[in-house]
Symmetry: C7
Subunit: 94 residues, 7 copies
């Protein structure tokens, strides 16, 4: 089973929240919210979106930080995914 | 009786929510909401929408995931349909 | 007495809600709302609307489904009409 | 005393609400609201409005139906007028 | 002391509310609000505003009717002014 | 220490509210609000802003009136500044 | 570990709030809010953003003032970052 995103959308797999004390990644928007670091699983074709050309710049395997409130969550074969627009991805973590 | 969508709209038939424990598809937006996996039944012609050219990329028979809050529901000859804009379709499930 | 819509507007006549159990058309947005199937009575000329060219694709006699919350209702010579923008028409029912 | 509308605006004079039982015009948005049939008194020059070209298609003497919530009311020499944008005029009544 | 409006803005001086019974000008939006008839005092240069070309069509001395809720009030040397965008001026009163 | 505004932004220094009875400048939006007359301190380069070309027309030393609710206040070396977009400047006071 | 911002985004590191009495930088939006002076750490590539070309004008090392409510906070290896769009940066402090 496979998710093929349309347009400028990107399928992400949420990674485990690393709450280690040294070098851990903790998003601090409002206290109890979950971190939004995720791995890119599949990338849409881009193209014209609302009349503007969109080039996809992320690729499967990238670890990314997304806008906390963006996207639609879905569970497929017991794995939790989130589908966002590329514009809701803020940065790549390396 | 047939539904012919206009513009960039797509007619979807809701599929049964598969709540199987292994490989089942469960959307986890907020706890009690119904999954939004659906089958494409009919596709509008696309063309200029709000001044932007829209090419239709889904086709009848595709299983798709939509934005949970998008679309208008309608029951026709005892079958429940939902009419969405193509832009509200997030991904194709294969 | 005649209604001539301007721009991209369409005059619709609400049809009776068919609540037959077999093959009836029932819109199921929220439980008690009225179905939104309607017959096209008159069609505006289209043309430039908010800077975008609009071509009218519905024609008088078409049975259409509209966005439930769209349009302005008016009663003229005891007949109830609703005036919508063509973009609020979702699909043609055949 | 004369009102000369600017841009894509139209000066309308509200007509008396005809509540006759046969062939009367009654707008049925929400129960107690006044009908919105009006006579065109003066028409702006059109031209570029928010970057889009607007051609005026109504003319003085036209009876029109407007969006109920549109426009600014004004009383001039004991006559009640309403000033709307042409885009808020839905249809011409003939 | 002088007010020079920028862009598509217009400086208006509120005129006294004429509550004469014959031929008086009374704005009837909601019961206790003040009329919005004003005299044009100074006119901005127009030009590109949010990417659209704006030509100024009002001139000092014009009596105008404005959108009641538009503009910023300011008192300069004991005279009350209101600064609006030209697009908030509905009509010229002659 | 110096503030260099980006894009179409302008750094203003609030001037003392002159509450003199003759020729004083008093902004009368809602009773207790502070006047919004300010002196231009620094002007951004303009250029493309949200896809539209912006030419800066104010210059350091100008006394300006701004939209009361616009801008971000900042105190730098005990002086209070406000940073606004040029489009939030209504008029120059001379 | 490194944050590479996408598009027109900029990674900032919050600097300590300097509450010195002479020449200190204190943002005075509403009384208890934290100052928004930050150091630029990484800058996205710019390019087409929502159909408009964006040129990045800030560079790593710049001290900047941002719109208080803009951006997403993230803690990476015990350092607090904030990711903003360049358009939310108001001015450079020198």
């Amino acid at each position: 089973m496979k998710l093929t995103p349309l347009s400028d959308r990107v399928v992400l797999k949420m990674t485990e929240a690393e709450e280690t004390t040294k070098g851990g990644i903790i998003l601090t928007g409002s206290a109890k919210e979950k971190p939004s670091v995720a791995e890119v699983i599949a990338v849409g074709p881009g193209g014209m979106v609302d009349g503007n050309p969109v080039t996809m710049t992320v690729k499967p395997g990238d670890k990314v930080i997304t806008d906390k409130y963006a996207g639609t969550k879905i569970t497929l074969e017991d794995v939790e995914y989130i589908i966002v627009k590329q514009g809701d991805i803020l940065a790549i973590v390396e």
